[in-house]
Amino acid sequence: MKELVGRLAALDPDAGAALQVIAYFDRLVEGRAGLESLVRGAAVLAGCPARLVDEERGIRIRVGTDGVRRDEGGLVGSGWMSAPLVAGAAPAVWLECDGPPGGVRAMVLERTAAAVRDVLERTRGRTPVADPAADPASVEVLLDARAPEHDRWRAAGRLGLRQTAPARAVAPWDGPPVVEAVTSPVARGPAAPGYGRAGVGPAVPVLELPSSWAAARTALRFTAAGTEQDPGPGTVYAEELGGLALLAEAVGPADEPIPDVRALERAIASAPWAAVTLHTVACATSLRAAAAELHLHHSTLQDRLAQAEHWLGWPVHEAHGRLRLQLALMVWRLHRDQRPRSTGP
């Protein structure tokens, strides 16, 4: 292997050497090799130490040409060859040798970065593939169903998305759209940190991202600020809406509210506790659980509900009344204008 490595390094980027580099990293990815194996591959094939530094994820790996990991290695040289993990991001993979750019080493670098990205997507579950601020145009093209397929492929490539990994769109309440790779369709994770209030679309093949985006925007309409006057979930997953998604199509901000929503608005305007109390009762498994969540005595809650039922005009104690309350709360949220200030159809 020592000889072959020497030869690879010395070779011009002819077809043979290039194919070998590609095959080497393809095999590592197929075999689900870890990050250290990838960095080792870079060092061995390039014939100089290689390092992977991703401060955000706390990853620092440095491997010598002999395959031994030695993370200490001093500062990055100004002339070293490097590659980011995604277009537009800061460099993350380094070969500890000065250019010239091009050649087999450039290919080693590019394949290493791509393979590292693959591993991170697999092992870290959900990886924002690119800083949308760095490439908003690509995100816009990717989410636009009217854009030619060819253009959307190229946009996906620029954002570091792979054909094989599903991705989803996220519609933040306050911010540009986000596209992220998802390793498994069921990977959901906790309420997405990072975005704040957001609707999250389903994981789909890259070319179907416009539909994920549409669903994310629908989900966003079901989110709430989480305040006393606007209680409810900050993050809503489109896949969890079920039949409620149909409501979103039927209700627009300009439509005349149904009488139940008018009644709900009256109740909320009548007492500062009404919104939170009704939301909690609608979501809780029992009145006792609702009282506990609201830090109220059971009898206090009973009194408040009696008052609220008076304002609403229907009982919320039993199943049908609770369903009616839940629907009224949902439709009430949908009436508000919550379209994100964003691109897309």
Partner: protein
Amino acid sequence: MTTTASSGAPDDRTSLPPVPFDPELSAALDVLTGQLGDTLALDDIPGVRRASLAQRPSDETLRRDGAFEVEERTVPGPPGEPDISLLVCRPAGVPSPLPALYCVHGGGMVIGDNRTGIDSALDWAAELGAVVVSVEYRLAPEHPHPAPVEDVYTGLVRTVELAGELGIDPARIVITGGSAGGGLAAATALLARDRGGPALLGQLLMCPMLDDRNDTPSSLQMAGLGMWDRTANHKGWTALLGGARGGPDVSPYAAPARAEDLSGLPPAFIDVGSAETFRDEDVAYAARLWQAGGRAELHVWPGGFHGFDVMAPQSAIARDARAAQLNWLRRLLAS
């Protein structure tokens, strides 16, 4: 794929699924097979020998910037046979007597010379302060059994005879070899026991080639895959044994797996990859050494192809394998 006529084993075992290679080794294997091409098929033995001659390390390389003194010693061969050559690499400036690593190169019984793969031994010798003695033995098919093993055995006897002159402690000689060299080393240990020859301190057998029958589950399972598959193995053994290969009359000094008595042998270190032809015969040999009341250390490296520690030395698993070999030598020489 070649079928072994003599094994009598049902060939339905060929349907066993192969063991996957370790990811790093798999990546290296692709590059290696791309570069080595057909050489491993052994269809052109003279051509392969010419190519390997071109890669023969020079004395200068072996000296490693003055760390070793290098000489080739010509010594008498087996009775009535040609002289043989011993490559001797001695750590410079280290007081005698030193332990010795008596090395038997690999190459399927048909290729290689006494500088093939010597790097590994020099690495150990540098760490341990040991002399490397590497024997040049005659190759099959021009020189079938018993020529190779008799040369190796005779070289060992000569090394002991010359111990004083070479600065070697004759009580601390470890025989070592990989692949065919591992098989010849194991066979030489059997010969030394049976002939009352030199007492070896240990035998370090790396993925040794032990069984001419070539019909273990691993041999069938890994057919056509990795390095030195069943077909190549068939060619190597046939070169050594001709028509006798796989038959009832093969000597244990040709194929140590044939030995009925494995008692009274020096401590053994055996390693092998889980994804190679020799896995099962090597594991069985270690088990039989224990059953005979012997001392043996066995390592089966997961996803390793034949010779992975030499062919892909940078891989994580190769470095672990190399460390295990060195650690065993260190313990053995400290005892």
